[in-house]
Structures are given as structure tokens and as C-alpha cells.
Symmetry: C2
Subunit: 349 residues, 2 copies
């Protein structure tokens, strides 16, 4: 099969690799219908995180099951499935408690599974999925091909934006500020709006992203950031601050902005991977009684929750894809996102 | 009037001071029926926080209103009232949102009020209460004197223990670990039990506190602390961790213990004042999807919520007082708590 491999920072290759086979009774093999490039894929691409040896890459896919191990009962050959970006055993305490993102035996695409076998990336023609039953979600068919992009967002960015909103306990009537206008931040706008926020304020400086934020339900857009952004937010709210801020970047500056954007007793839901810190300023949190919650999204829990709204067309998160390329052009997909020519790129094997 | 003053670390004096008078239309004057010494009063007593000049001390009281400004409508002369440990304006965004502990114009006992006037401490015969309407809560009478200790805990420690539990979103069926066996930690045990926790595990090394924890609803007591404490907790839970940990101390070690005590997707409610840090380890929180919330308790919100259970005898948090002294012996009250001869000391003017 063909699959994308990162050989070194800036070096994405689409190579011929062995077709995956079932290695255990809980595995499934999926033929990828659509994959995509994530903002977090840009970290090794940019050398922010190291690439010690070439390895397959990508962690978001929609596909069709072509083989299933004998212990697999929840999905069957022929099913159209969505895979969460992390694979969970379904049996550890975190999984039982509904937080598979913190599974004690979590398996990431492209890394080793719980038995020590290497796994595939999602940016390929085929992928072996360990823990298939507790990871894959079947989509009831038939499915219009036009829905594929939105279904694909449930694998990661829409579930992650939703996790920011759920972690920030967004509810009806809330005033919500969203820090970050990448695909996740835009999905957080959509999620907050879907959960009934009265006002969703998107921080964004890019006209195309501002426009999509508004289409996703942002009632206001602020181009300033940092302290100026918070001042603009307070001016918008008559001196008040937001009830909830959704942090969708992961830098010191974005977290500081989120914390400064909420009122006393407010909440910050965060999903930006904290790339080496910063630590959270506990005295600021204590004095402001600000709750902070978040982490990797339990996409396996959210996919069934969000799926009906995607299938009905109530939400259309697939609009974050503003470029589609064949898998063979994965290198160009990375370049387009790295150079901010695209918000998010869909890849078709 | 007589009132306790801290002159320097270790130096508590009961002195004659001017009787307070109404200074503004929103003030009330309260004759103190009972006050007490808080764990946080030991900080200046021990020199952990500086005492730049002698000042009145104490921030917990039950009393009777003896005068009320013309704008005061919610309490009247003759009312038995409980004062929260911090006074709030009732009008800022945080107050309107139900979080008066983060009031933009918060007034602390013994400090200056919003108009710049000095305020009294609670450990005295009388106290002027600014923001009376949005601070004081009247207790419907007649009230049995035996209830005074429990009513007094609503001013701070019981509301604070409850805040830990509310911040940790303790609910029916939860397994809850409580770090800290001071009066607040013990009240957190009581609060978690009251909110329906299936199992409440108290960390405590002191036999008298262990016993009170059990009477307050602790199902298990662990004498070990730190990593050993967490290992003991996991042994108790068959390898699992708690759903929620309540951090009631405020040190680096206690927060680390609380974070290590909860499962993936768990919650930490914290009310231990973070005395100079440490900052929260964001990567630990992110990887474990652990929510952290807390701060100073919005006692003004909790007093009416908890009051019926105190009046009915459903809860008896006043049992945290294991020593009662006349106000004149305030210095001995501090010594008894400093030397851990008492959990908490009640003072009667």
C-alpha cells in the first residue's frame, strides 16, 4: 500500500509499505476513504518535536473495514467507520469512567500497540486498528460522499473543539471566548454555539477564518490578541468578561489570554497541547476561582454523540477543509498548512 | 470594646479598641456571639506571612445586628446573623454570577473597606460589616445556643469544605479522597458524604481526627501520605484511583498527592490557599484529563444552602471545635492550635 512517512523535519514522503494484516483477535484492518493533516502533525514537520527515525504519520481517518479479528463484535467487514485519533482498550478505569483519552494502554497511530507491534499512520491506503471494538465507530449507511469531510472531523478536530466546550461546561446563555482560529478553534466555536452559548467571541486575525467562525456561530470577532484582545473583549461586554474561555492553541500566551478573558468563577476549557508548559498559575486560578479542565478529547465518546447532527446536516464541521489533495500529494498538503495557505487539508487515497 | 490584635508573629493581644460605628449606608454593626481561630490565622502567627503593623484579626463570626445603615434591607437590628469570611459588594460581575468570593471589591476582615476605612477583625466584641446586605445571612430564630458552633462553621470552614466538594463536582456514587485533616478537610469529608459520595477516603495520621473523619462519613482512613498514601489508596481500590480528590492544605506536596490520587478524567477540588505556589503541572493535567477547580469559598452563597441542614441537625460541623475559650484568652487559643492541641478553637466574647 501507499502511505505517508515523515523522514525528517520538512520531509514527507509517500512510500510503498507492506499491507497491514491482523496481528491479534481485537484488531481490524481499515481501507482509508479519507484522511487529513492535523495541526499537531506540523510539530514534527517543523522540528518542534523530534523525528528520531522515519515513521508513518497521520491520526485521522474515515474508512471501510476489510478484515476483523475474531474478538471484534462492534464493527464488521464492510462497515464505514470513523476512528478516534487515539485508540483505547475500553477496560481500564479511565475507559470505564468515560475518558478513553486517558486510557492506561492508549495506542497512538504510528507508534507501537499494547503488544509492542508497530502501527500504521492514518495517512495511508490501509491501517491496522488495535482495540477495534473500543475505538472504531460504525456510521449507519448509506452515507452521502459529501458528508465524508464532516465525518472525518469527528476523528479529531470537531471532537476536540467539542471537548474544549464540554470541559469549559458551556451551557445555554453563556458568553464564550475562543482563543485560537485553527481548525480546532473553529470547531470549538461551532461546539459552543451548538451547546447553546448566547454569545461566542472568536479571536481571529485572518479574514477567511473570521468568516468561517461567523458561519460556525461566532457572534463577534476580535482581531487583537493578548492584553489588547482582552481589553477589546471587555469593551465589547461593557466591562465584563466571558463566562468561559476555550483555549485551542497550547502556548503560554494563549493560556494567559484565556485566563484573563474569564470572570471570577469562570471556566477555561483547554485542548491546545501544552507544548512544554507553561505551568498553570495557581494563585491566579485560586484568586479568581477559575476552573480549568481539558486534555485530549475522548473522541470515542463524542463521535456517537455528534454523529446524528452531522448526518442530519445540523452541523457541517467539514467546512474546515479548504483544500483536498490525493494522498500522493501529502507533501504539498503539509506545505500548504505549514505556510497557512490552508486551514486543513483532506487527503484521498 | 475588647478585640484580639496581632502585634507580631506569636504575639496575640486582647486590647481595648473603639466601638465601631456605622460609616456608610450599607454598613451594619454586629455584636459578636461567637468567633474562632482559623488555620489561616496561624500564618501571620507563625510568621509565614508578614505582619507589618499591629492589626485586628479573625474573620469568622456569628452575632446579633445592633445597628444598620439606611440602605440595609436584608438584615435588621436584633437578627442573629452569620458573616461570610469575605465581604462582597453583590453587584460586580463575579457576584452577579454567584461567585462573591471573587468580588471585584472584596473586603477582608481587619483590612480596609471599599471606601478606605479600616475594618474590624471578627475576634472581638463588635464588628462593623461593610456590604451588609450582600454579606450577612440572617438565621431564622429562635436558635438553640447548642447550634452556635455549627452555625459558626458556615462562616468559613464548612462552606470551604463544601466548596472543595462542589468544585470537585462530587456527586452520588463518587469515590472521593480528601487530603488534609484540619477543620476544612474534615468538613470536606462531611460535605462529600452529604453530596452522596459512595466512598470517602480521608488521609489522616491523628487518631482524634481520624475518629471525627469517620463520624463525618469517611468510609476509609489512610495514615500514609505522599506516594505511599497514593499506593495505599490504590491498594484499597483494587488498583483504581479516586474519581475526585479534595485538596485542603495548599502545599506542593498536598496538591501532588491530590493529583496522583485521581483517575484519568478525574477532578480535583482545591481550597488550600496556595501559599506561594506551586504552579499546576499542566502536562500532568492534560495527559490525565484532570479538571482542577477551587479557590476561596463563596460562603455567602453556601450559607443559605447549608443552613437548613444545620438547623435540622442533619449535619453537625460544629464538632470540629474541640476547645472553647473566652475571647480574653485568645492568645491561648492560638497557642493551642499552633501546637496542634486543638483542631479548632471557639472564642466567646
Amino acid at each position: 500500500m501507499l502511505a505517508a512517512v515523515i523522514a525528517a523535519p520538512g520531509d514527507i514522503r509517500v512510500e510503498e509499505r507492506p499491507d497491514p494484516v491482523l496481528l491479534g483477535p481485537r484488531d481490524a484492518i481499515v481501507r482509508v476513504v479519507a484522511a487529513c493533516v492535523c495541526g499537531s502533525d506540523l510539530w514534527p514537520y517543523r522540528g518542534v518535536t523530534p523525528t528520531r527515525a522515519p515513521h508513518p504519520i497521520g491520526h485521522e481517518l474515515v474508512g471501510v473495514v476489510t478484515a476483523a479479528g475474531e474478538a471484534v463484535t462492534q464493527v464488521a467487514v464492510g462497515d464505514l467507520v470513523i476512528s478516534p485519533f487515539s485508540l483505547a482498550d475500553g477496560t481500564c478505569q479511565a475507559c470505564r469512567a468515560g475518558m478513553p483519552a486517558a486510557c492506561e494502554h492508549v495506542v497512538f497511530f504510528g507508534a507501537r500497540d499494547a503488544d509492542g507491534h508497530p502501527t500504521d499512520g492514518a495517512q495511508g491506503e490501509l491501517a491496522r486498528i488495535p482495540f477495534a471494538d473500543s475505538s472504531l465507530v460504525a456510521v449507519p449507511g448509506p452515507v452521502d460522499d459529501a458528508l465524508i469531510p464532516s465525518l472525518l472531523t469527528l476523528a479529531d478536530v470537531m471532537s476536540t473543539g467539542h471537548h474544549a466546550a464540554v470541559s469549559g461546561r458551556v451551557g445555554p446563555g453563556d458568553v464564550v471566548a475562543v482563543v485560537g482560529d485553527g481548525a480546532v478553534g473553529l470547531c470549538a466555536v461551532l461546539a459552543a454555539s451548538r451547546l447553546g452559548a448566547a454569545r461566542v467571541i472568536a479571536f481571529s486575525r485572518h479574514p477567511d477564518r473570521q468568516e468561517l467562525a461567523r458561519e460556525f456561530g461566532a457572534t463577534d470577532v476580535i482581531a487583537e490578541r493578548g492584553e489588547e484582545g482582552v481589553a477589546a473583549l471587555r469593551a465589547l461586554l461593557g466591562g465584563d468578561r466571558a463566562d468561559v474561555a476555550l483555549e485551542c492553541v497550547g502556548t503560554r500566551e494563549s493560556m494567559a489570554q484565556a485566563l484573563a478573558a474569564v470572570r471570577g468563577g469562570g471556566r477555561v476549557g483547554y485542548v491546545g497541547v501544552p507544548n512544554g508548559g507553561p505551568e498553570l498559575p495557581v494563585r491566579t486560578l485560586f484568586d479568581g476561582n477559575i476552573a480549568v479542565a481539558g486534555g485530549m478529547a475522548p473522541a470515542r465518546v463524542y463521535i456517537p454523540e455528534l454523529l446524528p447532527d452531522v448526518l442530519s446536516g445540523a452541523i457541517d464541521p467539514g467546512r474546515v477543509f479548504d483544500l483536498e489533495l490525493p494522498l500522493a500529494e501529502a507533501a504539498e498538503a503539509y506545505r500548504a498548512m505549514d505556510e497557512r495557505r490552508a486551514i486543513k487539508v483532506l487527503l484521498r487515497p
